[in-house]
Symmetry: C2
Subunit: 403 residues, 2 copies
Amino acid sequence: MAVARRTSRDIRSESRLIVVRALLAAGETTRNELAEATGLSPATVSTVVGDLLKYGIAAETGLIGNGIGRPTTGLRFNADRGRVAGVYVEDKYLEATVFDAALGRLATVNASAETPVEEADDVIDWIVRILDTALDRAGAERGDLLGVGVLLPGGMQRPVKSAPTPGGIWLHLDRLRDRLGLPVVVDNPLKAIATAELWLGAGRRSGNIVTVSLGYGVGAGIVQDGAVVRGATDSAGEWGHSLLVFDGRLCQCGRKGCVEAYIGALGMRQTVAELDPGHPLLDGPDGYVFLHAFTDAAEAGDPVAVAALDRTAHYLGAALTDLVAVLNPEVIALTGWPDFPACRERVMPIVWGRIRADAPGSAAEDLEIELVGRHGMEGIAAIALERFMRDVGLVTTRVLPAL
Amino acid sequence: MAVARRTSRDIRSESRLIVVRALLAAGETTRNELAEATGLSPATVSTVVGDLLKYGIAAETGLIGNGIGRPTTGLRFNADRGRVAGVYVEDKYLEATVFDAALGRLATVNASAETPVEEADDVIDWIVRILDTALDRAGAERGDLLGVGVLLPGGMQRPVKSAPTPGGIWLHLDRLRDRLGLPVVVDNPLKAIATAELWLGAGRRSGNIVTVSLGYGVGAGIVQDGAVVRGATDSAGEWGHSLLVFDGRLCQCGRKGCVEAYIGALGMRQTVAELDPGHPLLDGPDGYVFLHAFTDAAEAGDPVAVAALDRTAHYLGAALTDLVAVLNPEVIALTGWPDFPACRERVMPIVWGRIRADAPGSAAEDLEIELVGRHGMEGIAAIALERFMRDVGLVTTRVLPAL
């Protein structure tokens, strides 16, 4: 990577992305309001708005008068510029969502398979079928799509040596692109959730955000200076596989003592087992089902579940404190089990206590933690939209991967 | 913090900083070579070079001919544009270094006190005296200085509530500025070392760097997309106070299990004590003296020191793997004890083994680790130079603090 490859074209690109995001956030607005919201000069905003009108991404809404001064022309994001789709694919589960161009959700269709879908062509067939169904429900057709974003679980890194994804589809996305005749982008959930937060969430008021996803697996997305941090091989954010305990529990990844081995679903199960190896929760299923059963049991007052949840909250607080120490974000946006009704009141005070006690210096003083619920699906749709703007020449941002 | 406050002025500023750094790196060069090195367009480079010539930061060196085509005008950084000074201050130790404008070191003077210098005015007197001596040795006077950078140890954060620095001088830098009649900038070693690496080290080929300082305390500096990451309250990089062991050893900071409590000087001493509570190394002094005695003992084959050093190398490898997992840098630049002759051959293979085994996916595949030796002093001088360029209107970058 060169020290810098910025040109005046990149600068224009950056201004355009900033205005696009501000327009999306604003609903109906004006050029002056956009200048105020973005900090860009009125002249720059006017130029950018001109470009966005030309490409149909912005639309004028007629004159707005506030009774003071002369009326100005209203602006909005043109949601009907087209549609974008997000596809989430696991080996036995598939989901397709169709959004309007303003990232409003129009239709979601999901499907599951009895046995893992293993062949790449079968996975592609499945994606195309479910996507077409979702388009149909949204009253749209393939030709309306500006792009398709595919969300693949797991640590997706380049160069691809192994493909831990159904049917090795990550290696065959060109076939999907050819079948659909549409631009396809692919990314992993950590980057997609960070992008969703940047476009639709805390990114509207801060450029320095960490998104934290807590589910079966755990991970983070990093937004720095208004851009998603990707890292040298696209694997930044693997906080779930940073250490909580040197030489501690064996993690699924093979390393010992990872954060995920304590606050992922399997980790919580192990905490229950350490407290009471014969606890009935351990007879039930794993994953999300366990997460709900476990947190419900804690809410109902089961003493082992309460103790295990409290201990998990301490683990979470400690692991978040590490992010605060290293990255010192303005906002942490949490998605996952801490937002379960059974957890909110019990977990967050413990987490905050740990962060306040242990964060270095004043690092946690102005910190906000949001329990959000931004989805990777919105993020991958935003990435597909960004890709569309790149294809028409409006932005020059690095969008991954080049398909 | 607003989503963005970028204007075309910021863009020009960024181009100028990029060209200044490339010019500093190049020695004698040409406009075309600068365009190639920076990726900026030849037109942008010409404009920027014009600005730099105007402010005396660049100088022309006459015609350069390579025998092919017509000769072009050579360029260099104008080291004689002025001088910049760095001052490092602890309660019983002070160092002042005078650099030329191209950050070449001209003279260093240091001094130590028997008892801590505690009053702010006494600290300021001391700084002025030692700085004047250093200027004298460099054949310069105060009037030659473009600026002075003060390097303060410890976790310096804003807003300042406590002043863990000699004489609370951090709270009284305006007095130092008034005494010297010169612009003064202040920063902590983590940010300064990251800046030095960005300006003079790995920043010449990568924009995605983590600097790691290992000494009495430990910490990191983060360079992302060619800029030093500061964080919401200027405390990003406090990796030394992220966890290695949940509820582990008590750290000096009050938290349990911090990285520093295992790979800082006190941590290594504790590792020796755990292996052999009666070991003679424990009778000697602490800090750097201990570090040298300890690593020398390991090199001489003392079995306890060897075992403790190996264990420390595992701790270091694990803690660096966390940085790789979360930030996925292209380069880690290490400064400190791993570069001691006694450590190089023994420590780094263990560190690399741990990183290769434990880093997620392909995160460590293209990673480089440099044992450098970039100093905070060069970094604080670079920050002072950046501040000078800001004061004359060449750059708009945020430079801390506003004094």
